[in-house]
């Protein structure tokens, strides 16, 4: 059974524009141009229980709008959305008591009071029985390692610590679904890794369905096996991360550092080298660090074959085979789709 089901969701916003020019301010007071922006255009997808889905797209693509619709904050103009058999915006209170939401850029904790007071308040808001609450609290506090800061007011916490508290606050009532809107924004490497580890654990242990929007592709790579890419309000890709990579970055790159000067080789004016490597898609010389980049498609030609050819023809010092970085893949994908 599908836990989350979106069908043809549309949402438009109207933005008002002021006329330009010297009298624009004055004219703008009386006439203004209305511009309709399609934030979401026929978005449909299904997510089943326990999935960990990455939701990516450039700024302004409609990620947050989707999350807001799914969490019952916004009402779509058109389309159906069924989450755990409820329509979020129609049965808001019943719906939100079963989900958790974390917005990386906004805080849900009470700014001036100690963290534990916020948690106690949430206990009453979500009507969590005391026994369940204390057990869950110890569990979360231990795994997020926040026992030392429970008595500190939220405003005195660093961003990383605050984010851990936010996550704990969102999971106190054992939600079935967790929406994370850029949870790792602005976090340092250690906090990021800890957070990822925790989310992964929570997903596996308690089967919490998670939808994660982020700009950090490492998050996606570490956590999600399914990604959805959205751009201009349309769903562009929905599937496995591995397939996305195969489709948009099929090539591997061999970075070969040479022991002799690269300039001594026979190089033509386009900085490409004229010698034969069977199966190479593209070859580029980088004179500054004395290396050679050779791209090949692993589904067509085996890596050992490529390396062997290079080793026979060139004085190799070091050799590295790289996968294209996921950031670059996404960037080229955005570019290709004119986002």
């Amino acid at each position: 059974m599908q836990q989350i089901e979106l069908n043809g969701i549309c949402k438009t916003f109207s933005v008002f524009e002021r006329p330009e020019g010297r009298l624009g301010v004055l004219r703008g007071a009386f006439v203004r141009k209305k511009k309709i922006i399609k934030a979401l255009d026929e978005i449909s997808f299904k997510i089943s229980e326990g999935e960990l889905v990455g939701y990516i797209g450039p700024n302004g693509a409609g990620k947050s709008t989707t999350v807001k619709i799914m969490s019952g904050i916004l009402t779509p103009d058109k389309g159906e959305c069924l989450i755990m058999n409820r329509v979020p915006w129609k049965e808001r209170v019943a719906h939100v008591s079963r989900i958790g939401v974390v917005f990386g850029q906004r805080t849900q904790l009470w700014w001036d009071v100690p963290v534990i007071d916020s948690f106690n308040l949430l206990k009453d808001i979500y009507n969590i029985p005391s026994s369940v609450y204390s057990k869950r609290l110890t569990e979360l506090v231990d795994s997020l390692n926040i026992s030392d800061i429970l008595k500190t007011p939220v405003r005195q916490l660093s961003l990383g610590l605050r984010m851990r508290c936010e996550i704990a606050a969102a999971l106190l009532h054992c939600p079935k679904i967790l929406f994370l809107d850029e949870p790792t924004i602005g976090l340092d490497a250690v906090s990021k890794l800890a957070l990822r580890e925790f989310l992964k654990n929570e997903n596996q242990k308690n089967g919490v369905t998670m939808i994660l929007t982020t700009h950090d592709m490492d998050d996606i790579e570490a956590l999600c096996n399914r990604v959805m890419v959205i751009g201009h309000g349309k769903l562009l890709y929905d599937g496995k991360l591995k397939l996305l990579k195969e489709k948009y970055a099929p090539l591997r790159c061999i970075r070969a550092t040479l022991s002799s000067k690269v300039t001594e080789l026979n190089i033509d004016e386009f900085n490409t080298i004229e010698f034969n490597v069977d199966g190479a898609e593209k070859i580029k010389v980088k004179a500054e660090d004395n290396s050679l980049l050779v791209w090949f498609n692993p589904s067509k030609v085996a890596a050992h074959n490529m390396v062997e050819q290079l080793a026979r023809q060139l004085p190799l010092k070091d050799i590295v085979i790289e996968e294209q970085k996921i950031d670059e893949i996404i960037a080229s994908m955005y570019k290709e789709m004119c986002l």
């Binding site: 019952g72 904050i73 209170v93 019943a94 939100v96 989900i99 308040l121 009453d124 808001i125 009507n127």
Partner: protein, 181 residues
């Protein structure tokens, strides 16, 4: 019915946490109290002059209040002054301005009662600080300026009830008024 009690409990909890938060601002309370005391004293002096030196010395009494009662009235207005600021909780207003208000919808709470509890709490603590300091001052200053005792025990309790209900009324009115803020 169960739902109702859950809401009440949550709102009470919210009220508690906001009150605790507000109690941190003691200095603001002290500053407010000194303003209130100063203003009260001016009013009392003006009333005293009018009552003592007016041509028709009976005018004030004819209006229904003796000087003593007028002075008590002045102190009571100063003590309860903060019951009616024409706004809601500043935190809610700033959330509306910067868009965080959407997140409030992620709580399984009815927005109206939720905000009511917060607004009530956010005006109770300044009221408490400013009011109690002013009240203390009003009962310890020299007799001629002092707040008079309640007329009777019964009327004192009636006053407490009316202050209590007025607090709810003022909060409601503030929330209604805030939509024009």
């Amino acid at each position: 019915m169960k739902n109702f009690f859950t809401t009440i409990k949550a709102c009470y909890s919210l009220f508690k946490i906001k009150t605790a938060e507000g109690f941190q601002y003691r200095m603001a309370g002290l500053a407010g109290a000194s303003t209130g005391i100063f203003w009260g004293l001016i009013e009392i002096i003006v009333y005293t002059i009018f009552y003592k030196y007016a041509e028709n010395k009976e005018a004030g009494v004819m209006a229904g209040l003796s000087l003593r009662q007028a002075i008590s009235y002045v102190w009571l207005t100063q003590v309860l002054f903060l019951m009616q600021p024409m706004s809601i909780d500043g935190e809610i207003l700033s959330k509306i301005n910067n868009g965080d208000v959407g997140i409030e919808m992620c709580r399984p709470l009815d927005l109206c009662s939720h905000w009511f509890a917060r607004t009530a709490a956010s005006r109770l603590t300044p009221l408490f600080w400013r009011g109690s300091i002013t009240l203390l001052f009003a009962v310890i200053i020299p007799d001629i300026f002092r707040l008079g005792p309640p007329a009777s025990l019964a009327s004192f309790f009636c006053m407490l009830i009316s202050v209590f209900t007025a607090f709810f009324l003022c909060t409601t009115f503030g929330m209604w008024f805030a939509q024009y803020a």
